[in-house]
């Protein structure tokens, strides 16, 4: 199993290298190499996850190692979909290294098998986990696109077309793709929260228990809801939307990792190491 994870990680790392070389040299074949390496890594990643699920009968989210591994999987998967749909090649420059970083740090963490509990194998929970992870991956991409937007906007505003001006696509494409990511992420987060509530009701008999993770998830959800609202109502395009996407992802990251470090609650085990 270990060797499998190392192969996946190295495929992602090489993919990231391909994209970074592409960023500097602007030769399209490096970007293609990076893309195919990511696809190969993702394929293996899927196989390894399916294998784990079949072998144990549980979705592997028992400790930080497994959680990060799934997070990396979701990120690459969502990236590949957006890359295909919007043809936003340059996004790989952000997504591939991030995925590589996540998966490599997962490999470095000790994989102490947690106690898989019976409650893990519940329909709503499976749904909850998948929706939350893919939703968060979408938000991660939205954050990356936001960063690219700010870089490109800066080079246009300051009237110094430098390194990024040539390499990044138009503001409108970045804005549209970022928005699509937010909408996707928001939909998935909503589904994830609802299924989570249903599951909580089934298991603990109540929808909401003021668990810190729940509270922070609620805050993230409200933040993204606000972002979408001001976009439609006031027309917060471009810079402000990009900034909000970045801030939103910061809050989300805190919800994902920070809450488990600083507070206790029933999500604790996922990110304990």
């Amino acid at each position: 199993m270990e060797i499998f994870e190392i192969i996946i990680s190295s495929l992602y790392v090489m993919g990231a290298a391909g994209y970074l070389i592409y960023l500097f040299l602007q030769k399209d074949h490096f970007q293609k190499i990076g893309y195919y390496l990511l696809i190969a890594g993702f394929g293996l990643h899927c196989i390894s996850l399916i294998y784990k699920v079949v072998r144990t009968g549980y979705i592997p989210v028992n400790n930080l190692h497994e959680t990060l591994f799934i997070a990396g999987w979701a990120l690459v998967g969502v990236f590949l979909i957006f890359r295909y749909k919007y043809n936003l090649k340059i996004l790989g420059v952000y997504a591939a290294p991030l995925a590589a970083l996540i998966v490599v740090s997962a490999c470095l963490l000790q994989n102490e098998p947690g106690q898989p509990r019976e409650i893990f194998n519940h329909f709503w929970l499976v749904f909850h986990i998948i929706a939350i992870f893919t939703g968060e991956a979408s938000f991660a991409l939205a954050c990356g696109i936001g960063i690219l937007y700010l870089l490109q906007e800066r080079s246009i505003k300051t009237k110094r077309p430098g390194f990024f001006f040539k390499r990044l696509p138009s503001l409108e494409l970045l804005d549209a793709t970022g928005h699509a990511c937010i909408v996707t992420g928001f939909t998935l987060l909503t589904i994830g929260l609802i299924t989570g509530f249903i599951y909580a009701h089934v298991v603990w008999g109540r929808f909401w228990s003021w668990d810190p993770k729940e509270v922070w998830s609620g805050i993230s959800w409200l933040l993204y809801a606000g972002l979408l609202h001001v976009r439609f109502a006031v027309g917060w395009h471009g810079r402000n939307a990009a900034l909000l996407a970045i801030i939103g992802f910061g809050v989300l990251l805190f919800t994902f990792l920070g809450v488990n470090f600083f507070f206790d609650g029933h999500h604790g085990e996922f990110t304990k190491y």
Binding site: Q26, I156, K157, K159, F165, S170, E172, G238
Partner: protein, 459 residues
């Protein structure tokens, strides 16, 4: 067997030639002994060597080019010829036996046809020979020699010159090959270096910026305030990118209407400017107003109405029309003429860097061309032909001998000798034909065909 020694002497000649050529200036492409000796020559002038008055006087129209080609081709000395005439250069590309004489002929003809004395333009001429000529043609086509490095038109102009030479049948094997290589190299330079990337004119730089903001310009709405050459050029670029609608605002409504008719646009009154600002995405401003015509506070309100849809101001006017403070509002971008010039200067710097890469590609291509050109000589062709036949015979004989294990060594040697003899006999007539000095046959053409029939060029 009778011919074998003959070939050996040929090989000796060949090696003598190669030593010889090393001692000599490497520019010369032809072996001294070869009857099919001609030099590739370029004689011409361009924007760097000649002032515009002289270039104007020497520019050839299409009919004049055709006429000049025919006249020069009549000269026995000049085998192949093409003539390139653009607003920045006039160049004659020739393959000639006696280069000094050919240059004189070309000069005289230019003076004669354009009716100006040679002394007037003699100083501005450059003459390139051999490799230098090849390099020059490659550089011109790759737009390294252009006034604006990287501009794309020159390649098309060379293609036209080539077609003209084909039409008038003044081209031949050498120019054919040279120009085909030229097109290939120019294309390679364009795709492999960034020499043609990024605008180097102010109006085009503005369009490029617009595309970095809006992506696709199709269906976007543009507004032209005022008029002026550069502004209209930018509008034409926009129209080429299929913008949706164009509005024209002018202080004098009548002038606005006239412009609108020209661009198939919608004329608006100056009082309607505010309304236009609400709908337009790209605004090109070029009025003679001494003061800003659009201010920050006004724009702030309009942006709220526009729901922050991005807006791009191209301010070509001097003094400026658009308050530069507007650039600080979010989703609004203001570029004035100096900003655009700054962008252009940076792009020109980039192109210069890319030109170094292009020179390397060209150097390589010149070496390749040189090799091909050398191979056009008789001796290397015969050697290559013989070698190829030997190789084929050897493979086949070896194959056969493998299955005939009962043969003795002497038998095998006899079979090998027979193979050699067969080759010599079969190539005999071809070699004699190639070696004959004939005034009626184009030697280069003969050699080229031979090389193709036997597929001697690996390229």
């Amino acid at each position: 067997m009778a011919n074998l020694p003959n070939i050996n002497t040929d090989m000796k000649t060949n090696s003598r030639y190669s030593n010889h050529s090393q001692d000599m200036c490497p520019v010369r492409l032809q072996p001294a002994e070869d009857p099919s000796e001609f030099d590739i020559l370029v004689i011409g002038l361009n924007h760097k060597t000649a002032p515009v008055e002289i270039r104007e006087q020497l520019a050839f129209s299409n009919e004049e080019t055709a006429h000049a080609l025919e006249m020069l081709h009549k000269e026995a000395n000049i085998r192949e010829i093409a003539l390139l005439s653009t607003c920045n250069r006039v160049e004659v590309i020739m393959a000639a036996k006696n280069s000094v004489k050919a240059v004189e002929t070309a000069k005289t003809l230019m003076a004669h046809l354009k009716k100006i004395p040679i002394v007037k333009f003699d100083q501005t001429l450059y003459i390139f020979k051999g490799d230098d000529a090849v390099r020059h043609v490659f550089r011109v086509a790759s737009s390294l020699d252009s006034m604006v490095v990287g501009e794309p038109q020159i390649l098309g102009q060379i293609k036209e010159a080539y077609h003209m030479a084909i039409e008038k049948k003044t081209g031949g094997v050498i120019l054919n090959r040279l120009l085909h290589r030229t097109f290939f190299i120019a294309k390679r330079v364009r795709t492999e270096t960034g020499i043609g990337d990024h605008a180097v004119s102010v109006s085009y730089a503005a369009i490029e910026l617009a595309r970095k903001i809006f992506g696709n310009l199709e269906g976007k709405k543009a507004l032209l305030i005022g008029a002026g050459e550069m502004a209209e050029l930018a509008v034409e670029h926009l129209l080429r990118h299929k913008i949706g609608e164009l509005y024209v605002v002018n202080r004098t409504f009548e002038r606005g209407v006239n412009l609108a008719v020209r661009f198939n646009a919608q004329a608006m009154r100056f009082e309607e400017l505010s309304d236009c600002l609400e709908i337009a995405d790209i605004i090109i401003s070029s009025t003679g107003s001494p003061d800003f015509i659009i201010r920050r506070d006004q724009m702030k309100k309009i942006m709220r109405i526009r729901k922050n849809r991005p807006l791009f101001f191209i301010d070509i006017a001097i003094p400026r029309d658009i308050d530069p403070q507007i650039n600080h509002l979010s989703n609004v971008y203001v570029y004035d003429i100096d900003d655009l010039k700054g962008v252009v200067d940076e792009n020109i710097e980039d192109r210069k860097k890319e030109a170094i890469k292009a020179e390397r590609i060209i150097d390589e291509a010149v070496i390749h061309f040189h090799k091909w050109y050398e191979s056009l000589a008789v001796v290397p062709t015969i050697v290559a032909m013989r070698k190829k036949m030997d190789r084929i015979a050897k493979t086949e004989i070896d194959k056969t001998l493998k299955s005939l294990s009962h043969l003795s060594d002497t038998d095998c040697q006899a079979i090998h000798r027979m193979g050699d003899a067969l080759i010599s006999k079969m190539l005999h007539d071809t070699i004699i034909c190639l070696k004959q000095n004939s005034r009626y046959h184009d030697k280069a053409m003969q050699l080229n065909i031979t090389r193709r029939l036997f597929s001697l060029d690996i390229e």
